[in-house]
Symmetry: C2
Subunit: 144 residues, 2 copies
DNA sequence: GCAGGAATTATGATGTATCATAAAGTTTAC
DNA sequence: GTAAACTTTATGATACATCATAATTCCTGC
């Protein structure tokens, strides 16, 4: 009965994937969560984002991002140096250790994706992605 | 770049939906979370499940379910009476108040689904659901 | 320049996710 | 019958989700 509900399937797919992904990271002896990994990944590309901008990119909220940044910094994967031109912000940079972590996690992530999407054709994935985007759009209140 | 990653879209779709759903429930002045609602819904149909069985049905884990049951009971939406034939378990029943909550939330949930799935055809939904099930299956380690 | 508003970050409160484990009850083997 | 194995539930620890709000700092209009 629950099985017939689309959002149940959606939830199940995402959680199954997250469990698989985290299990494989743990198994490799790497001490990082997939959420932290995602944030670190974004910061590698852009080191000039506000917490709000980071949150938008990883689809979380600012409060969650603030706590993840604090954790990543505490763990030495990220450095935060006060910005002279804006007393509120800091310059966020992935550290050497953070870079090593990203490097170590990368092949695992690729492997996870391959496992999760095994047997799905390119065009199926395209359709899936497009439908998901439409749902997300439907659920997002118009800004104007 | 992130946008091209399927799991990012998956995550985004589910979270958009959850935010929409919770916002509408809050707006109606109803004090319940969608997760609690789901558990309550299951208990209405089956009042003889162990926490582990409930967890399987709502795709959560036993620890989460235990805490949600405690909350629901504290809020008077659920009653838990010790079972004579098994000293570990309790008989879980949705209370009158819980029933009223379910009744109040139901139309909102229907409305949320309609909003989220607007413009998607029946056959598109079928495809989507089938693809999601396959992903979930791929991510679930074989039991044997 | 300065007052009011906006942006940025931090944090409290509450709820859920996950793993691990403890505590208590039940079943099975013998 | 009892010891060992198994079930069931509760809870500790840590992390993320969300809303609200406080505390700074910056910017803008005047």
């Amino acid at each position: 009965m629950l099985n017939s509900i689309l959002f149940y399937s959606l939830d199940k797919a995402i959680r199954s994937y997250r469990r698989l992904a985290q299990a494989n990271i743990d198994r490799a002896g790497l001490d990082i969560t997939i959420d932290q990994w995602l944030v670190l990944r974004v910061l590698l590309e852009h080191d000039d984002l506000t917490q709000h901008e980071i949150a938008e990119r990883v689809f979380k909220d600012q409060a969650s991002v603030a706590r993840m940044l604090a954790l990543l910094t505490k763990r030495g994967l990220l450095s935060a140096v006060p910005l002279p031109q804006d007393g509120r912000r800091t310059q966020l940079r992935v550290t050497e250790q953070g870079q090593q972590m990203l490097d170590a996690v990368h092949p695992i992530v690729l492997d996870n994706r391959a496992t999760a999407l095994a047997g799905l054709a390119e065009d199926e994935l395209a359709v899936l992605q497009q439908l998901l985007e439409r749902i997300a759009l439907n659920c997002t209140p118009a800004i104007s």
